[in-house]
């Protein structure tokens, strides 16, 4: 494992996403207070913490679902304010969901093709007639999607309604749909939650493969410490909406505040 980390270390580039002093409150409840951290290009960055630590809120802030009351978010050197989730997606940040948020009524293929929608440029009229540029476009995108399907080894399920697949495979379709948008940053919200050991190992392999082969920067939230320590380059630790640790897995593991949070020392 360490060998792999060292191999990847050379590829990690400059800061691509930086959060500074981000605070988010829902009425009187402070979900996040004064959080700052950065994400470097091509790295696997984990956000961990016990239940209710603010991990999902953090992801939703980056994703544009929540707009923080204080603080700035810089992506590719530019500050962004009050971006809608779809604008964030267009700018190259994709995400997967905790639990399942697939388009249940659609096939695996249609789910992933939907991820290509933002790359499509022909107008509705051409699309409706399926002529000329629209047809060519559909074929190009289909080819791209087939690449992802091969990559995630879900060829056999292409035409299946997504609701009929077992949980582990549905999570893979979720990942495929996010990849279809060709993201620079991929946000993964508890990708391993509810999986059995074998499914977890598969998912870990796919996350590392995505990172290696597409060079996608990965920000993942995880509950399960052991998984995170194995695949991340750097880890942010949150507890009660505050940042209590930041560093390589090795550094975080010996950080007293982190150990306390996880072992449940009284606050």
């Amino acid at each position: 494992m360490t060998g792999k980390s060292n191999g990847r270390a050379g590829r990690i580039g400059g800061v691509i996403l930086a959060l500074e002093g981000v605070s988010l409150a829902f009425g009187g409840v402070k979900a996040l207070s004064d959080i700052s951290f950065d994400v470097r290009e091509h790295e696997v960055r984990a956000i961990i913490g016990p239940n209710g630590a603010g991990k999902s809120s953090m992801l939703n802030v980056i994703n544009g679902v929540y707009h923080p009351q204080h603080g700035t978010i810089r992506y590719l050197g530019r500050e962004y304010h009050d971006m809608d989730p779809h604008e964030v997606a267009v700018s190259g940040i994709a995400r997967t969901f905790q639990g399942l948020a697939l388009f249940r009524g659609m096939t695996v293929l249609d789910n992933i093709m939907a991820g290509r929608n933002l790359k499509m440029r022909t107008n509705i009229l051409f699309q409706a007639l399926r002529v000329g540029p629209a047809l060519r476009e559909e074929i190009e995108h289909r080819a791209f999607v087939e690449g992802i399907i091969d990559f995630l080894e879900i060829q056999a399920y292409r035409m299946m309604p997504v609701g009929r697949l077992p949980y582990g495979l549905q999570k893979r379709v979720d990942l495929a749909r996010a990849l279809a948008t060709e993201p620079r940053i991929l946000l993964l919200d508890e990708p391993m939650a509810g999986m059995n050991l074998e499914e977890k190992q598969d998912m870990c392999r796919f996350i590392l493969d995505v990172n290696d082969q597409f060079g996608t920067t990965i920000v993942l939230i995880e509950h399960d410490m052991s998984v995170v320590m194995d695949i991340s380059d750097r880890v942010v630790v949150l507890d009660y909406g505050k940042k209590i640790g930041d560093g390589t897995p090795g550094e975080v593991r010996v950080n007293q505040a982190v150990v306390d949070a996880y072992l449940g020392v009284s606050h």
Partner: protein, 334 residues
């Protein structure tokens, strides 16, 4: 599977037997039977058209659009009044533009501020839209009865005279209307199933958050959906309007669409098509064949089954299959 669905199966069998009985018992001549059947199908297609407007919006935004019926009236009024001053085709195009503007305004003024609110709040909002459109439509377009002349002969024609004794009497205008409605239904089905925009619409219908996360703009999708619903309302309005005259009661036609969507399932476009046909045929058949029997047996003044058949059928469906024929079964965690 069958064990659980036996009430639905029973209802289906009852409907089929009822459908076959007049012919089987020889109560009706084949020619007349087909005439009634065709009449039912043609009305049914028109019900489907209005019901589709409901289903489209409910699917894409989870809003039960109470204003659909008024949109039908509003569009018909717009066409009828503008056609007095310009050719019909221009009036229809202009009315379509008005419906798109309306969709845009509804999204901006009504839906956007209510994002993430309870379904009931949105329902009430569309109720408000209904009253607004009723009043606004009458102020702008007037409140008399207007006509839309599609330039198709209204006289019934006799067809297949050499196949059936007495031939089959068909209203040419009904026939054209059914044809247009069928084409529209097919076109919409293709739009939804085969185009990227249709895929985006289905994606939004299934999961708002996930759709946004892959770059589908919710607001634009809502404008498209309401525009399509406006377009459907326009076609329904023009066809019904040319049949019955454009008047206030037109918005009541939409009331018939309610049992249709209950029957077919709120979330299903296919359901509204099938539901419309079942109710169209069902009410015509029962009016013609069941009505006289009821009148005779119970010594009633008149049958009038056509007026209540749809609602009773919808009620039965609510009892045995609340999600409708093609709707998604809702499983709520308690």
């Amino acid at each position: 599977m069958l064990k659980k669905n036996w009430p639905v199966a029973l209802l289906g069998v009852a409907l089929l037997v009822g459908l076959a009985l007049p012919l089987a018992t020889g109560a009706s001549a084949p020619g007349f039977y087909i005439e009634v059947l065709l009449g039912g199908l043609m009305t049914g297609v028109l019900y489907s058209l209005v019901a589709m407007g409901f289903a489209l919006i409910f699917k894409a935004s989870g809003v039960f659009n109470f204003a659909q019926g008024t949109m039908v009236l509003f569009a018909a009024l717009a066409v009828a009044r503008m056609a007095e001053r310009m050719p019909l085709w221009a009036a229809i195009l202009l009315a379509m533009a008005i419906m798109v503007v309306l969709a845009f305004l509804i999204e901006r003024i009504v839906l956007r501020p209510l994002v993430n609110q309870e379904g009931v709040a949105l329902l009430m909002a569309t109720l408000g839209v209904t009253y607004f459109l009723d009043g606004f439509g009458q102020i702008v377009w007037g409140s008399d009865v207007y006509e839309i002349n599609l330039g198709i002969a209204k006289e019934p024609v006799m067809i297949l005279q050499n196949v059936f004794e007495g031939g089959i009497l068909v209203n040419k205008e009904d026939f054209v209307a059914a044809l247009i409605a069928t084409m529209l239904v097919v076109a919409l089905a293709i739009f939804f199933q085969k185009t990227p925009t249709g895929r985006a619409l289905r994606a939004v219908a299934d999961d708002h958050q996930a759709a946004q996360s892959i770059g589908i703009p919710l607001n634009r999708i809502w404008v498209i959906v309401w525009s399509v619903a406006g377009f459907v309302a326009l076609v329904a309005g023009v066809i019904w309007g040319s049949k019955l005259g454009v008047q206030f009661s037109l918005s009541q036609v939409a009331l018939k669409a309610l049992p249709v969507v209950i029957l077919g399932g709120f979330t299903s476009v296919t359901g509204s098509i099938v539901g419309g046909l079942i109710i169209g045929v069902g009410e015509k058949m029962s009016e013609v064949f069941l009505g006289p029997i009821l009148v005779k047996t119970f010594d009633l003044a008149g049958g009038g089954i056509e007026n209540w058949f749809a609602y009773v059928l919808a009620l039965l469906f609510l009892l045995v299959r609340p999600e409708g024929l093609f709707g998604e079964k809702l499983i709520d965690r308690v």
